[in-house]
C-alpha cells in the first residue's frame, strides 16, 4: 500500500494538534483510523480530481462540443453549489430519481453527445485511468462540503424510490443468502477490525454517504458512490447492477434520506 506521503522541506504537519476525532466512534481502533483519516484529509488528493472535474465541467467537450454548464442538477441549469447534498432527487425530464453521478452521465449524453454505451463501458477508476464522470462528481460533491444532506422526499416518485431502496436493502438472496441489512441493519457488527454502521439508523446512515466520492489510498484511485454500491452487490454475490441504474439510485436514496440533516464534509479519503 502506498500512502500519499507528505514530504516537506519544512515539516509543516507537526505544528498543530489534531482537532478532536470524529464523535461517532467509540472504540479505540476506529478512533485511531479516524485520527489517521483526519491527518490525511488536510491534503486529500481528491482535490486533484476536483480541479480536473471543474475543468471538465466548464470546458466544451464531447461530439457536440458543449460544456456541462447548462446541466441541471436539480437546483436549476448550471447550479452546482449545494446540489450534491440535495440528491438523489426526482427529475421530470427523465421521469425518475437520479443520483449525482447518474445525472452527470445524463447531462454528458444529452448536452455533450456521448453515448451511454461508451460511458458505461468502463465506468470505474483504475490506477491509470479515472473516468470523466468520476472527476466531475468529485467536483460537484466538493461544492456541497459543509452543507446538510437534504435529499428531497416531496415527489411521489421520490417516496417510491426510497421504498424501493429500502426493499433492495433488506432483500436477501444469492449464494450467501445475504442482504445489505445482514451487515448494515443491526448495531455493533464488525468485519475484522472494521465496525459496520447500521444504515437503518439516521445517526449511523451518514457513514454510508460521508467521504464519498473518496480517494482510496490503496492503489491511489478516486472512487464514487456508484462504484461503492456496485461493489456491495459483488460482495453479496449478486448480479452486477447497471451503471447509473435506478437500482443504484434507489439504494442511494434510501441511505441518503436516512442521513438527512447531517453535515456532508466533501470528498473524503479512504484506506
Amino acid at each position: 500500500m502506498r500512502h500519499a506521503l507528505v514530504l516537506g522541506v519544512v515539516a509543516a504537519m507537526a505544528a498543530a494538534p489534531w482537532p478532536h476525532a470524529l464523535a461517532q466512534t467509540e472504540d479505540p481502533v476506529s478512533a485511531e483510523f479516524d485520527k489517521f483519516r483526519e491527518v490525511l484529509e488536510k491534503d486529500n488528493p481528491a482535490e486533484l480530481w476536483e480541479v480536473k472535474g471543474e475543468q471538465l465541467w466548464r470546458t466544451p467537450g464531447g461530439p457536440k462540443k458543449a460544456s456541462l454548464e447548462k446541466c441541471d442538477l436539480g437546483l436549476g441549469p448550471g447550479v452546482v453549489k449545494g446540489a450534491y447534498a440535495q440528491m438523489p432527487r426526482y427529475f421530470a425530464d427523465v421521469d425518475r430519481v437520479m443520483d449525482a453521478e447518474a445525472r452527470i452521465v445524463h447531462c454528458m449524453i444529452t448536452l455533450q453527445g456521448f453515448t451511454y454505451a461508451e460511458l458505461a463501458k468502463a465506468p470505474f477508476s483504475s490506477a491509470t485511468r479515472t473516468p470523466d464522470p468520476v472527476s466531475i462528481v468529485t467536483y460537484v460533491a466538493a461544492q456541497s462540503a459543509g452543507m446538510k444532506f437534504a435529499a428531497p422526499q416531496g415527489h411521489p416518485k421520490e417516496k417510491a424510490t426510497y421504498a424501493a431502496g429500502k426493499e433492495i436493502f433488506f432483500y436477501r438472496a444469492g449464494t450467501f443468502d445475504f442482504s445489505c441489512a445482514s451487515c448494515h441493519g443491526v448495531d455493533d457488527k464488525r468485519i475484522r477490525t472494521q465496525p459496520l454502521p447500521n444504515f437503518t439508523k439516521p445517526e449511523q446512515a451518514i457513514r454510508a454517504v460521508l467521504g464519498w466520492p473518496g480517494y482510496r489510498m490503496t492503489g491511489g484511485v478516486m472512487h464514487s458512490l456508484q462504484w461503492r454500491l456496485t461493489d456491495c452487490f459483488r460482495q453479496q454475490r449478486f448480479p452486477k447492477p447497471d451503471y447509473t441504474s435506478e437500482t443504484l439510485s434507489a439504494l442511494m436514496t434510501y441511505v441518503t434520506v436516512n442521513a438527512n440533516g447531517q453535515v456532508y464534509k466533501g470528498p473524503g479519503i479512504k484506506r
Binding site: R2, V6, L7, V9, V10, A12, L48
Partner: protein, 105 residues
C-alpha cells in the same frame, strides 16, 4: 498533458505556508501488471518560484508516493505574491501551476 496541481499558499506572519498536491502515477518500476513490469515513471525535479525568483530546486526519487503532497514555507512573502511550482519527470513531461498567496485567517 499532465493533470493540474492544486497549490495552496497561506500567509502566517511573513511566512507563506505552501502545500502542493501533484497528480502523478509515480511508478516505481517494480510494480507488475500481469507478468510485465510497469516502466519507471516518476517526478525527478520540483522547483518553486516566488514572483519569478527561484526559492528552491529539489531532486526527488521514485520512492515518493503516487499523487504526492509537497509542503514548504517561504519567508518574506506578502499577500498577492505569486507562487509557481514546476515539476519534470523522467519521461520529460512537465507541468507548471501558479497561485497567489492568500492572507491567513
Amino acid at each position: 498533458m499532465a493533470d493540474p496541481m492544486k497549490i495552496r499558499a497561506t500567509l502566517q506572519g511573513d511566512v507563506a505556508d505552501v502545500r502542493v498536491l501533484m497528480a502523478h502515477p509515480m511508478e516505481t518500476g517494480q510494480r507488475k501488471q500481469g507478468d510485465k513490469l510497469v516502466p519507471l515513471h516518476f517526478i525527478q525535479t520540483i522547483s518553486a518560484q516566488l514572483n519569478g525568483r527561484t526559492v528552491f530546486n529539489a531532486d526527488i526519487s521514485q520512492a515518493i508516493s503516487r499523487n504526492p503532497v509537497f509542503a514548504f514555507k517561504v519567508k518574506g512573502a506578502k499577500a498577492g505574491d505569486k507562487i509557481s511550482v514546476t515539476w519534470t519527470d523522467n519521461k520529460g513531461e512537465k507541468r507548471s501551476d501558479e497561485t497567489e498567496v492568500r492572507a491567513g485567517s
